[in-house]
């Protein structure tokens, strides 16, 4: 009897491992100067990953049957930035990934100029081929390091109503994109009343350092937290809850199409400080972000 149980258990176990393997299918992989860009499919969900078997973190996902649905949580929170300014005329996105954000923003803001800075041309190729991203005369992709682009843009006249920072993953952080000096440069690149949304870290030793660094440059910000943390702030005073709620009404229908409820984002808009205010600020002189990210 016992033996039979054991045997059944083993068969089940074997069955599930096989099923798990069969579940995730490698669709495409290509090597670039920076990494290996992989595309996996699990059922209808297709994801871009930078590590084999997607061990740590998916970069970006799309529902192949319902391409408009936003699969991951953090792009939804990033779109919450529109509650602070619903009609940005010009948008800068640092980090393309699968292109979820530029795709959604293109639909939401048909007239806006959208500039996307992506360091890795392979990511753009894969985003276009597998994730429905399309560059156009109103959606430019600039192949550059994010910081190099921001510094260069500051010498020109273009300023942005909305800047989105989405250049990190769990595994590796470009340390020069997390410092006080960089955020100061980004702040200078914002148009009057410009909004910043940044996808950042919700756990690890980095959280406190990152929080005080944003605080140093922007003073106050909304701290939207789920498994990721999205920081939303703007030049000038932040709107209050009523204002946010009023503006969010404009997006109910659109966000429904993306598979989520605009109202679900509202409670996340908090300015409460839940970090140690004495943590060390990250600067160009002191930016061991990857080492700090190892600490938990």
């Amino acid at each position: 009897m016992n033996r039979l149980l054991l045997l059944t258990a083993m068969v089940c176990l074997l069955g599930t491992t096989i099923a798990a393997d069969a579940e995730q299918r490698l669709v495409h992989s290509e090597r670039s100067l920076y990494r290996e860009v992989l595309v996996y499919e699990t059922g209808d969900v297709r994801c871009m990953c930078f590590t084999r078997n997607c061990r740590v973190g998916r970069q970006s996902c799309i529902d192949t049957r319902h391409p408009d649905r936003i699969v991951m949580n953090y792009p939804k929170m990033m779109l919450g930035a529109l509650f602070v300014n619903p009609r940005p005329q010009s948008v800068l996105i640092v980090g393309l990934g699968g292109g979820t954000l530029p795709r959604a923003l293109r639909q939401l803001l048909p007239d806006a100029r959208i500039d996307v800075v992506e360091i890795d041309p392979a990511v753009e190729r894969v985003a276009s081929r597998y994730f429905g991203f399309e560059a156009s005369d109103r959606t430019h992709v600039i192949e550059s390091d994010g910081r190099v682009y921001v510094k260069r843009a500051l010498r020109g006249t273009q300023r942005y109503d909305l800047i989105m920072l989405d250049a990190f993953d769990h595994e590796y952080i470009p340390e020069h994109l997390l410092t006080q000096e960089f955020l100061q440069e980004v702040k200078s690149l914002l148009a009057p009343n410009g909004v910043l949304a940044a996808n950042t870290f919700s756990s690890s030793g980095l959280y406190e350092h990152e929080s005080v660094t944003y605080e140093k440059v922007f003073e106050k910000f909304f701290n939207l937290k789920r498994e990721n943390r999205v920081i939303v702030t703007r030049l000038g005073p932040l709107p209050d809850r009523e204002q946010l709620q009023a503006v969010s009404q404009q997006f109910v229908a659109a966000f429904n199409k993306y598979g989520f409820d605009a109202a679900e984002l509202l409670p996340l808009f908090t300015t409460e400080r839940d970090w140690n205010p004495n943590a060390r600020v990250l600067t160009d002189q002191y930016s061991p972000a990857n080492l700090l990210n190892l600490e938990h």
């Binding site: 910081r147 960089f182 061991p288």
Partner: protein
């Protein structure tokens, strides 16, 4: 005896110094040029080039009345040529990225301007130290081997300590200043060593 010991210490420290500066160099260039593989490629290229020419120069220089004092002076010069980095790295990098917008050649030019001179002088240390250590042909290989060991071991230590720990504790310029002061301290010690007669001849 003290002289032999100091020659090893200087070579070992110089190895530490070079790799620490190289890693911090990546830090200094990142805000202006990013931290892509080609930025690292530019930095490593310049360090290798400067070291190789430094070896040549150090070997030549060792033929003119070599002494541990002079070895210490080379170490001090290498350290002092880091001072411009401490003071002007940022404006220099900004100017160079304007002059050469391509991030590959921009970072190559920047690495050259900022790091070539200190690394060149650091490269002079090892062959010069070999000259001080070798007594006869028989043991020359052994001495050279020991010197390579000390110098490369110092490089390994400088790489590990800087990238694992120092950047977590200190600012880039504080680390550079610390390296500089240690070099000056060791180099100054060399000034108080009386040269044995064999070296004077």
């Amino acid at each position: 005896m003290v002289q032999t010991w100091l020659a090893y210490v200087i070579a070992g420290w110089s190895g530490f110094f070079v790799m620490a500066v190289e890693l911090l160099g990546g830090r200094l260039l990142a805000p202006t040029f990013g931290s892509s593989i080609y930025v690292w490629g530019a930095i490593i290229t310049i360090f290798m080039l400067a070291l190789s020419l430094g070896y040549l120069a150090g070997g030549r220089y060792s033929m003119m009345t070599p002494s541990v004092r002079r070895l210490g002076t080379i170490l001090i010069i290498a350290a002092m040529t880091v001072v411009p980095l401490l003071l002007f790295a940022e404006p220099m990098l900004d100017a160079m990225s304007l002059a050469v917008p391509d991030p590959r050649f921009g970072s190559l030019l920047s690495a050259f301007t900022l790091f070539f001179v200190p690394t060149f002088f650091s490269g002079m240390v090892s062959p010069y130290a070999v000259r001080l250590l070798v007594q006869d042909r028989n043991s020359s290989g052994r001495h050279a081997g020991q010197l390579y060991f000390v110098s490369t071991f110092g490089s390994a230590a400088g790489t590990l300590l800087t990238s694992f720990y120092l950047v977590l504790l200190l600012e880039v310029n504080q680390i550079l200043l610390g390296l500089l002061l240690i070099s000056v301290a060791i180099g100054t010690c060399a000034w108080f060593v009386r040269a044995p007669r064999s070296e004077i001849s």
